[in-house]
Symmetry: C2
Amino acid sequence: MKMLINVPETVVADALRGLAAAHPDLTVNVENRVIVRRDAPVSGQVGLVSGGGSGHEPLHGGFVGPGMLSAACPGEVFTSPVPDQMLRAAAAVDSGAGVLFIVKNYTGDVLNFDMAAEMAEDEGIQIAKVLVNDDVAVTDSLYTAGRRGTGATLFVEKIAGAAAAEGMPLERVETIARQVNENSRSFGIALSACSTPAKGSPTFDLPPGELELGIGIHGEPGRERRAMMTSGEIAEAAVEAVVEDLQPRNPVLVLVNGMGATPLLELYGFNAEVHRVLAQRGVPVARVLVGNYVTSLDMAGASLTLCQVDEELLRLYDAPVKTPGLRWGV
Amino acid sequence: MKMLINVPETVVADALRGLAAAHPDLTVNVENRVIVRRDAPVSGQVGLVSGGGSGHEPLHGGFVGPGMLSAACPGEVFTSPVPDQMLRAAAAVDSGAGVLFIVKNYTGDVLNFDMAAEMAEDEGIQIAKVLVNDDVAVTDSLYTAGRRGTGATLFVEKIAGAAAAEGMPLERVETIARQVNENSRSFGIALSACSTPAKGSPTFDLPPGELELGIGIHGEPGRERRAMMTSGEIAEAAVEAVVEDLQPRNPVLVLVNGMGATPLLELYGFNAEVHRVLAQRGVPVARVLVGNYVTSLDMAGASLTLCQVDEELLRLYDAPVKTPGLRWGV
C-alpha cells in the first residue's frame, strides 16, 4: 500500500509538525506529543483532555480549541498514548478548576489514563474521568473489555467542551459528559480494511464482494461478514442496531461518519438512506453531521452515531466551537 | 471496487437528498440538480454560481452559503452539468445585481456555461464569467484545452464570495475572481486511481511502487510516472512546480488538499514538508488549509495550491463564510 509519508517511524511527529504549521491557535509539543489550545489554562474553566492512538484524525488533535478539548495526546498509530503525555496535558490546561479526562474504552487507554489521573492528583490537579463506550456492535473485542468507544466521542467532547466553556464546575461537566455517552450509540461498517504505516499492508482481509457489519475503528472484527449490500440495506442494518439499543424518545443528533476513504458523495447518499429509515421509525432528527470525523486511516466504510438530546444538551451542542475539525459560531 | 451506494444511476440524486437532509440552510432541487442558499436572492448582492461534474465534493455544492457560492450545479460524476441547470441557478440567485459564473477549465463546462450565459442574458440577467485554470502540470489534457481548473477554485469561490457579500458590483467581483485565479497555481499527485460508480473499477492503471506527478482531478494523465517517493520529495516536486510558475512575491494562501482516500494524518505530514520547502525558498505563508476540499472520489494522493494575496484578497479570504464545507466567523 503506497502512502504519502517519509518513513513509518516519523508519521506521527511529521503530522504534528504539519498541524502546528497549519493552526497557530494550537501549541503543539512535537517531542512530547501534546496538543494544547494556545490560551490554556483558561481561568475559571474546567480543562478537557482526551487522546488515543493516532490514525483517527481529526479525532482528537483536530478537536482542540475553544468550546471543545483543551488538549489532546496522540499515541503512535492505533496505540495508546502514555501517562506522561496525559499528565503533561493536564498540567498545561488546569486553571485550578480541575480536568476531565475523556477516555475511549480500549484497555490500553483506560489503564494509561487511570495511571495519569493518579499522577495528576499527586500533583494537586483534580481529575474526573468519563469513559466512552457507544459501539453497540460487540461486547468485548480485540482491544476492549465491554463496548468500544467510537463516534460518540465527538459528541462527548463537543457538548462537555461547551459546558466547560460556560464555566460549569468539574462535577457538572463530568455529569454532562456521562449523560452524552449514555444517550449515544454507534454502529460501523467496513468495505475495505485499512493499512497502518508500520505494517504497510491491509490489517485484515476483506474479500471482494463482502462487507463487515459492526467493524471497530481499528478494524477489529464486527458482528458478521455479509455479501455486499446496497446503501439502503446498510442504513437499515445500522439504524436498527443503534435504535434497538438506544430506544430514543427525544430528538437525536446524527453523525454519518466516514472511515477515511469513502467519498463524501457516497456519505451524503448514505445519509439520505439513514434519514429515510429514521423517518420510518419515527425518530426525530435535531442536527446532522456528515463527513470524516472519527476515521480509521484509509478504511472504506462509514459509521452511524445517534445521540439523544434534551434541550440543554442541544443548546450545548449548538454553542460556538473553534477547532481545526469542527467549527461554528466563531 | 465496493461502494457505499444503491445503484450507479442514482448516486448523484441520492447524495443531493442526503445534502438536503443535513443542511436546512440549503434549498436542494434534486430533480433539476441545483443547490441554492435558502435566502437567495440576496438584495443588492451579486450572485455566484459554479458547478461541474460530481465526485469532487465538497466542491461545489458544499461551498454554497453566505460568503461563498449562491448556487451550485452538479453534473453526473465527472461530467459537466447542462445549461438548463446553470440557467435555473442564475435565475434563482439574481437579485438584479447580476451573476458571476465560476467555471473550471474543462471543455464541457466551458461550452455549457457559455450557452447558459447567453440564455440568461436573453432573460435579462447580467452575467460575467471567470475561468479557473490553475493547474501547472500540463497544457492541454484529456478534457481540457489549456490548463485545468483544480484547487484554486476554492480560493476563487471564497474570495469572490466575500466580495459579493460586501455588496461589490458585478464588474468588481469579476475582477477580483480573475485576480485570484491569476495569482493561483496548483500541482497534484496520485498514489492510486479513483473508481467511478458507473465503471466500478479504477479509471486508470497505476502500478504498485509508482506514483503519478501532475495528475488531474479526474485522473487525467500528469507529467510523469515515477518510482514511489517520500512525502518530502513529493513536497519538493510540488512546491517547485508551483513556485517556479507563480514566482510569488507576496505571502501565499496554502491549500494542502487530499484527493479523497489519503488519511488526514498523512496530509498533515505532507503539509509539514510543504512548509519546510516553502521556508527554504523564502515564500511567506499567510494562511493554511489542510483537508479534503477538491477531491477525486476515492483517489489516494494530494494537491498543493498556492494563492498569492495582497491585503485586500487576504481580508476577503478571512471574511466570514458559512457553508457545509468551509465555515468560519459565523
